[in-house]
Assembly symmetry: C2
Homo-oligomer: 181 residues x 2
DNA sequence: TTAGCGATGTATCCACTGGATACATCAGCG
DNA sequence: CGCTGATGTATCCAGTGGATACATCGCTAA
């Protein structure tokens, strides 16, 4: 909307999402305060409310950007095993962001068109990246769900250290075997 | 420790965990404040700090109780499909509690002996409930991980409405097929 | 050219939160 | 029977998300 030297700040909405991503990555959770975020942007904390209805709306913006980045990481996977590996790598590299993405509720996803579109990009990448030629649609759909469940569940359990594995590297190897690759 | 008419309140620690469970179930998240909890117990909010170091310690207590209840729900499952079904039923019936259980970090689980023991009860139930006779230990271990990943991941994706299924009932049916049962 | 309007940002306030410090109460043991 | 340590209370604090009122200034229409 405001490409260059626009008004007071430029494009505060985008800058806020950028900075929020940095803060989230920094301590692997979305525990930052709006005030800390605003201070880093050199702006009164209330200025953010001109672009986001509330904290939740800002996080929805962060989630949308996260799904976009995830889709970028997934579309280049040449086959199912590398697809799964790329997904796991993304989630373990940016755990705070992954949490924000996955914590968004149904209403948020369907309410925010940008967020919905980004999620759909990821789903599209999954359908293509996990396609098994010759299988009917129902089977393909189920295979996407199966891999996604194993990936998402494995990530959560590994992060909670419930699997008793020695390292993330060992986990990355193990999950491929478990998925049947 | 304080069985009957003990001191001022009786057993505030246990009562606090009970009441926290109610609040968590009520709005499907652990968003309650210590003050609201204390008020319901008829006690100054600071009294809780005589039993829990901080909010996180209280939630660790809640998580321990959650794992105990989950283990109770799992040990009676006669075979692998009913085990999976029971796990999913528990998590979808008490989403707030399930989140609290799964959000506990490595340090919390290993630091609190009660929590650790409760987690081990669940793992023990899984190993028994999912046992496939005649398979070697490594295979059994991997099968436990596979089902747990599918269950935990499926639950998370279903709750975020990422799977595009019509209802929790449909999900419960679908996940059994996906697990290969 | 300029008036003023709407978008953006600021100043200040509020109720509420988790947590800290200091003190009061009282069960049970010597 | 008096002391002590466990338990609970009173009060304070800085920090939080959010609200209301106002200031700034680019853009557009006359």
């Amino acid at each position: 909307m405001a490409p260059r030297g626009a008004y007071h700040h430029g494009d505060l909405a985008a800058a806020a999402v950028d900075e929020a991503l940095r803060l989230i990555d920094a301590d692997a959770s979305a525990s930052f305060s709006l005030r800390a975020l605003a201070e880093r942007l050199g702006v009164a904390h209330r200025a953010l409310y001109n672009h986001f209805a509330d904290r939740e709306a800002l996080l929805a913006g962060v989630a949308a950007r996260g799904f976009d980045m995830l889709a970028d990481a997934l579309v280049i996977a040449p086959d199912a095993p590398s697809f799964l590996a790329a997904y796991v790598r993304f989630a373990l590299a940016r755990p705070g962001l992954y949490d924000v993405m996955m914590a968004r509720r149904h209403t948020a996803i369907n309410g925010d068109p940008g967020l919905r579109a980004a999620v759909d990009r990821v789903i599209g990448a999954a359908v293509k990246g996990l396609a098994t030629p010759g299988a009917d649609d129902e089977t393909q759909r189920r295979e996407v769900m199966r891999i996604w469940m194993i990936a998402h569940g494995g990530i959560g359990l590994q992060r909670a250290r419930m699997l008793r594995l020695r390292s993330d590297a060992e986990f990355a190897e193990e999950i491929l075997r478990i998925a049947g690759f």
